[in-house]
């Protein structure tokens, strides 16, 4: 069965880019444009991994991460952001990986493969 990734980002252009790129890798992709929406998606349909932007209006990624880990302890979350200093933020330590946004998506894809590969 195809693994399903939930992409959470407030920028539409980036959501679509991730969708296309990750689908090309053979994954199923679900999209959410805000923290609130992402929690709703997780309730509705089972996802195998969440790719989460940190800085979003409304509920930010750190808060989403906290709630996800409360409810679905084993659901892997990959944080994706332009801010490297979040690495020092205790709130982000619960994430399974941390990727800095870059137009070269190789590192991101590899990280996703590593995590999803472990969970067969």
């Amino acid at each position: 069965m195809k693994k399903r990734i939930l992409v959470v980002d407030d920028e539409e252009g980036l959501r679509l880019l991730y969708k296309e790129e990750l689908e090309d890798e053979g994954w199923d992709v679900v999209l959410a444009s805000s923290g609130e929406e992402s929690l709703q998606r997780m309730e509705e349909s089972g996802v195998d991994l969440v790719l989460l932007d940190i800085k979003m209006p409304g509920m930010d990624g750190v808060e989403v991460l906290r709630r996800v880990k409360e409810k679905w302890k084993d659901l892997p979350v990959v944080l994706c952001t332009a801010y490297p200093h979040y690495k020092r933020d205790f709130g982000t330590w619960a994430s399974d990986a941390y990727v800095i946004k870059s137009s070269d998506l190789t590192e991101l894809k590899q990280t996703l493969k590593d995590i999803l590969g472990k969970r067969h």
């Binding site: 920028e11 980036l14 332009a82 801010y83 490297p84 200093h85 137009s103």
Partner: protein
Amino acid sequence: MGHTQRGTKGLPSSDCAIIEEAQRLTLGALPLEGKLKKLCALMGRFTGFDHCLLYLWDADKRAFVLRASSGGNYPLRRNPAPLSYGEGTGAASMVKRRKKPLELVRKGQDELFRAGRGKGFADVGLEGFSSAVIHPLTAANVFYGVIYLKSAAIIRLSEQRRRVLNIVALQMTETVKCAEFASDIHAEHEELVEARARLLNSQKLLSLGDMAATLAHEIRNPLLSIGGYAARLKIHLDGDCKAIAYVNSMLGGVQRVERLMDGMVGFLKDSVVELRPEDMNDIVAEAVRVFEEEAGERGIELVKDLQEGRLPVMADRDQLKIAFDNIIVNAIQSMDKGGRLSVSTSKSGADVVVRVADSGGGIEPGILDRIFNPFFTTKKRGTGLGLPITSAIVARHLGSIVVDNAAGVGATFIMKFKFVDAKNAEGKG
């Protein structure tokens, strides 16, 4: 005249005048060198010795250093007075040990130098002289140095002269003590000024860090969009299509800006240093090791000269390595036709000093004051962030960095850090 006029304390008024003049000089506004020279002249004039020298004890150098002198133009050619006496040598060391004045007078044809030798010390400064008085400068059990009087003629001091000499010596000690005190205050003031400059600089870097954070977010997202879609566009283009070159150019541009962003957030990411007890030699050796191969390939002789033993400092190892990397990379790039790169460590007083010297022709003097400015670069593909990051990291270690530039020859970056004794460092990591 049957008797001399008497002044205070039963001293002849001429002697009182000497003491008053010494007093006046001591309290006067002359700079220290001038004061000491005049006091020497006064002392010579008063005692009749034709050469009066002042040697001060330098506790760091463990030596007596000549600070002032007067007279010394004798008809006979003699050895010039030594500029310094090492610990344990010469008459001055004898006086330092004995803590009381030493009076030497030639006996018969015997030279004073040999007389000194007979007393258990050799002093080349005595060669050819007939008499000498070496008087200690002490106050509250602290030894400051000696007044060194010598003469080609035989002079014996009267008890009264000795008393006056002692008083003038006390005044001279006060002068030296005050000057030392003032210089301590001056040094402390300088340190404060330096600390303030460092603080201002780190504040500047901090606001730059804030700016980098905002820019990182505002620029990275659209960049990801441009770069990501350009990469997808490329997949959909024919292999030999002309537009491939356009897309590649777009991708190259995006990557360049992304690299720049990485460098900028370097300020931000590492704005907190985690200081632990480290050995500077170890950090430098590790930083240098990375470049050994590259230096060899480029025909650069890499010389590593580390101070023996450990050089304990409080440092953030990873950050310091970045700081050294940036300088070494610049040095290597400056020597495209080969050369010599020397990296050394040493201890100087309370400082641990790291030097990186290259033979890459040095820095153009006109741009020297801009090399630590963010985004200033002379390289075609440089970000202009290497040296600012290095300087920021060094500042976060409360260290300093300066460039000793020899235009046309090479540049030496000198970084200083506080030496932290292992005992004091324990428990702070």
